[in-house]
């Protein structure tokens, strides 16, 4: 009777063979097409885009059927078991031509909320201003990690041959973790705290997380949601009462713009190959537009921004008038980005292009 399991016994047999000099070195010659790879790169840096050339740049339209994590470009022995978890196997479902370069950009432009924000420069602010900043941070803490949860939901389903996309999405998850973290820190760091959550935001978050497939989820989140938030970050920098918030919003803005860039190029790649899917994308954007219009007008969303824009609660109406143009800017940039992706949304837009605040207030 064997002392060990068949697996261990097999391993011991191999060791015996090796000890007798019967070495299996077939692996050394396993991948002649991938051997002798030459690269070019800038001095002092080696980017993903530098190595993914020649043999290693051959990305299959349909991800490998072996379904394992074997690296693209390697020799995969027959019988390698499938992990059985990849459902996104078509390149067009996830690919963007800028995925690798955005990954390179993301890893080299990481920052941290522990030491990169000049927290020592926080200063006591008037109560209404501190509350406005804290409410804005409450909303952003609530909304930001959907852009972590959404890629996390799909990441393990993406075929390993599309590792550029997987790597980029991994950086996005880290970016969003940092955003949640930094806004929560700001809310709690200056004598204030978290204020009111947003039921309106939850409608949008649900639409993103419940989207039936990756392409529609990405269009809704990367282009629509993150595009709108990108403008909010720009606005946050504009309204920032101290250097601390300025820095937070500038750094977050950079991250968000990378995510938007992936989303635009992905939707373009997808629609060029699946024009028949355009109605589904439009339908998902219909849902998103309704949700964002509703949440934009929630008191806990517009109120703090109007207070900051007016310079205080006493001037909240002036602040509203000053901020009315933000919405128009968000919609314009959203339509512009969709146009680059090949989607003419303007005739289908379900929300106003502008909010005529002066007319409505009259």
């Amino acid at each position: 009777m064997a002392k060990y399991s068949p697996t261990v016994e097999m391993g011991l047999d191999r060791i015996r063979e090796m000890a007798r000099g019967n070495l299996d070195l077939a692996w050394m010659e396993a991948n002649p097409a991938g051997w002798g790879h030459r690269i070019e790169h800038r001095p002092g840096e080696l980017r993903l885009v530098d190595i993914e050339t020649g043999h290693y740049a051959q990305i299959p339209e349909h991800g490998s059927a072996h379904g394992s994590m074997a690296p693209r470009g390697s020799y995969v022995p027959e019988g390698t078991r499938s992990l059985g978890m990849y459902t996104l196997n078509e390149m067009s479902e996830v690919w963007a031509e800028n995925a690798a370069s955005l990954y390179d950009e993301a890893v080299v432009r990481q920052w941290n909320s522990v030491t990169d924000i000049p927290w020592d420069k926080l200063q006591k602010l008037p109560d209404d201003i501190e509350k406005a900043v804290c409410q804005m941070c409450t909303g952003l803490t609530e909304v930001e990690f959907v852009a972590g949860d959404m890629p996390a939901k799909w990441l393990c389903r993406i075929n390993h041959d599309f590792h550029e996309v997987k790597l980029f999405l991994a950086t996005q998850i880290m970016d969003e973790a940092r955003h949640l973290d930094v806004f929560r820190k700001r809310a709690l760091a200056n004598g204030g705290g978290l204020l009111m959550a947003s039921p309106g935001q939850e409608e949008l978050l649900a639409a993103i997380l419940e989207a039936p497939d990756y392409a529609t989820a990405s269009a809704l989140m990367h282009i629509f949601g993150e595009g709108f938030v990108l403008t909010l970050f720009r606005q946050g920098e504009f309204l920032a009462p101290t250097e601390v918030e300025k820095k937070i919003f500038r750094l977050c803005m950079q991250d968000e713009a990378r995510h938007v860039a992936y989303g635009v190029k992905h939707l373009k790649y997808f629609l060029e190959r699946h024009p028949e899917r355009e109605p589904q994308i439009h339908a998902m954007l219909d849902v998103g537009e309704q949700a964002i219009f509703s949440l934009t007008l929630e008191p806990q969303t517009w109120g703090p921004r109007a207070i900051l824009a007016g310079g205080g609660l006493a001037n909240i109406e002036q602040g509203m008038a000053r901020m009315a143009f933000i919405y128009g800017k968000q919609v314009k940039e959203y339509l512009n980005r969709l146009r680059i992706a090949g989607l003419d949304r303007e005739p289908r837009l379900t929300i106003p292009k502008d909010i005529p605040y002066e007319d409505l207030a009259a």
């Binding site: 800038r42 002092g44 840096e45 390179d104 950009e105 080299v108 432009r109 990481q110 990108l230 720009r234 606005q235 920098e237 504009f238 920032a240 009462p241 101290t242 250097e243 300025k246 820095k247 919003f249 500038r250 750094l251 803005m253 950079q254 968000e256 713009a257 990378r258 938007v260 860039a261 635009v264 143009f325 800017k329 940039e333 512009n336 980005r337 146009r339 680059i340």
Partner: protein
């Protein structure tokens, strides 16, 4: 004391590029920057255009353009009247860096007094993607004696 450099001129932007090289460690911390920025200075009689190409952690090239169409295809444009550029630069020189009301984002966000545009939205978005590095680049003007 170093003689003042004319804004705008290739020499003035080269002085910013030199400060970027001298501040290499900080720029490495901010991360690589790969984009083309066109600075447009509007005067009553004409507009001046300068193309600054950023690559990795520094400036690859600076050139004066005859017209915007000569700019590299992937670029964004920062444009403002000369007096706005002057106020921004003088503010940076006075404070060592832009104060809250003179950052690039602050000046461009309402599209007034400065605007950021591009051949398409993604090119314009590069201004947002590299904003912290671009701000630091212009903050380099703090130590560049400038005449207008």
């Amino acid at each position: 004391m170093a003689s003042a450099l004319q804004f705008a001129s290739p020499e003035w932007f080269e002085a910013l590029a030199a400060r970027m090289r001298a501040d290499a460690e900080q720029y490495r911390r901010l991360g690589a920057i790969d984009c083309t920025m066109v600075v447009k200075i509007d005067r009553p009689e004409r507009s001046d255009l300068y193309e600054i190409v950023f690559e990795s952690f520094g400036v690859k090239s600076i050139r004066r353009l005859g017209r915007l169409e000569d700019a590299a295809p992937g670029h964004f444009v920062l444009e403002a009247p000369l007096e706005v550029w002057r106020e921004m630069i003088e503010n940076i020189r006075a404070h060592g860096a832009a104060d809250l009301q003179h950052t690039l984002n602050y000046l461009t966000f309402p599209d007034d007094p400065m605007r950021v545009t591009g051949p398409n939205q993604l090119e314009t978005d590069a201004f947002y993607r590299y904003n912290e590095s671009l701000q630091r680049f212009f903050d380099g003007a703090a130590t560049v004696p400038t005449r207008f």
